[in-house]
Symmetry: C2
Subunit: 218 residues, 2 copies
DNA sequence: CGGCATACAAACCAATCGGTCGGTTTCTTT
DNA sequence: AAAGAAACCGACCGATTGGTTTGTATGCCG
């Protein structure tokens, strides 16, 4: 018999353990919130010891930040994939909004995202570390939006407004889930924004909306 | 000389102490966030002892809930006062949105509100206790909205959408304050929504927006 | 095979958490 | 004035926090 072949490489073990801890962290953030996601709870859920965590992360803060980065990075990938799914849709505009809603403003991603945003407000260090991934996700949205609304002009602001609406809608659902999941209001918004895009060519808007606009974050 | 007259009545002292603790709690929620607002920090800011807190509140949870209720109740009063300030405004619609933004989606109220909403997600007890005050504030908004958009039909959904936009906008500002405080995008939204209200009489919306709509919360 | 670094476990630690308790001051009541 | 209740203080408590350390098993490499 040959030398005992390692069942799993060290690199594999390391990678898997990190992923396991990160996943448990995200689950805890959803289930218990930021203040309830203590190290003990996270490790208990992951089913590993304190030493495992200490070996792979320098602090609890580090674990949280890594988990946040992982979730956001994965989200950015998914956001870029959305564009492809729009092919064949008769109403690319409505389909895009619906997809973004379903994937990014519901479930664990939404729950954890809100925890993170609120945490970032009082934790400059975390905010600074997460800024790149926030921006990356938004840029991915912008790309998908551009492919769904071919006419170049003015779409940027409308995307920002759309994300505002989805966020406010998500906040609403967090407090009290509605029966239809706010589908009716999303339909209303889709109609309003499309009408606006349509009529925008002909007549100017009553109230000026000039001025520099900064990109939305998440 | 008469018997030593008390400088302050017991009822006064009690009321003031409660208010002092509540105020300190709200300040801490803004400055340190939910997870950072420990009892020690709050009491230190208020400048009172642990015993004072214990005498007036049954638990930390109780203090937090009381502080939240106080802030929301005060906000509801302010929301009802907004209607009056609209008199004399040439553009009541835009003025209302601006007032709501300035008073309820900026500063301490916004910061604490987001902390509370996120906390409520994982704290059913708190959520249940705060639900009435959330609803009360929204109802106050609805009253003001009705007075700014006299034509009865359909305004309700548009108010909800407007609150969604303001929330999403507030979330944006929490992460990264913009130079103009999102004034341009508010202007854009004001124009879009007014156009929609205007054109709503003539032609129907492309995509149906029927179905029962639940009232927005906060 | 053997020396070694990595991966992980579990006991341990000081600090802080929310909460309690005996004691003192301040108002109220008779 | 005296007795009693309410307001308030500050020391104290057990539980839990994030973090460390010591020990062991396992994959890596000469």
């Amino acid at each position: 018999m040959a030398v005992t072949s390692p069942s799993r490489t060290q690199e594999e073990r390391s990678r898997d353990m990190r992923a396991l801890l990160i996943e448990a962290t995200l689950d805890c953030l959803q289930a218990q919130g930021f203040h309830g996601a203590s190290l003990s709870v996270i490790l208990d859920r992951a089913g590993v010891s304190r030493g495992a965590w200490a070996h792979h992360f320098s602090s609890k803060h580090d674990l949280l930040a890594a988990a946040a980065e992982a979730m956001m990075a994965e989200a950015a990938v998914a956001a870029r994939a959305v564009t492809a799914t729009l092919d064949g849709e008769e109403d690319r505009f409505a389909a895009l909004i619906e997809q973004v809603w379903q994937r990014f403003y519901r479930g664990r991603h939404r729950d954890v995202l809100f925890e993170l945003v609120v945490a970032c407000r009082t934790d400059g260090e975390l905010a600074q570390r997460l800024r790149p991934v926030f921006i990356e996700l938004i840029e991915s949205f912008r790309g998908a939006w551009g492919s769904a609304t071919p006419d170049a002009s003015g779409g940027g602001d409308l995307l920002t407004l759309t994300l505002f609406v989805l966020r406010g809608m998500a906040m609403q659902e967090m407090l009290a889930e509605s029966a239809d999941g706010q589908a009716a209001l999303r339909g209303l918004w889709t109609g309003i924004s499309r009408d606006f895009l349509q009529s925008r060519h002909d007549r100017p808007l009553r109230q000026g909306a000039g001025g520099p606009l900064l990109g939305a974050i998440t």
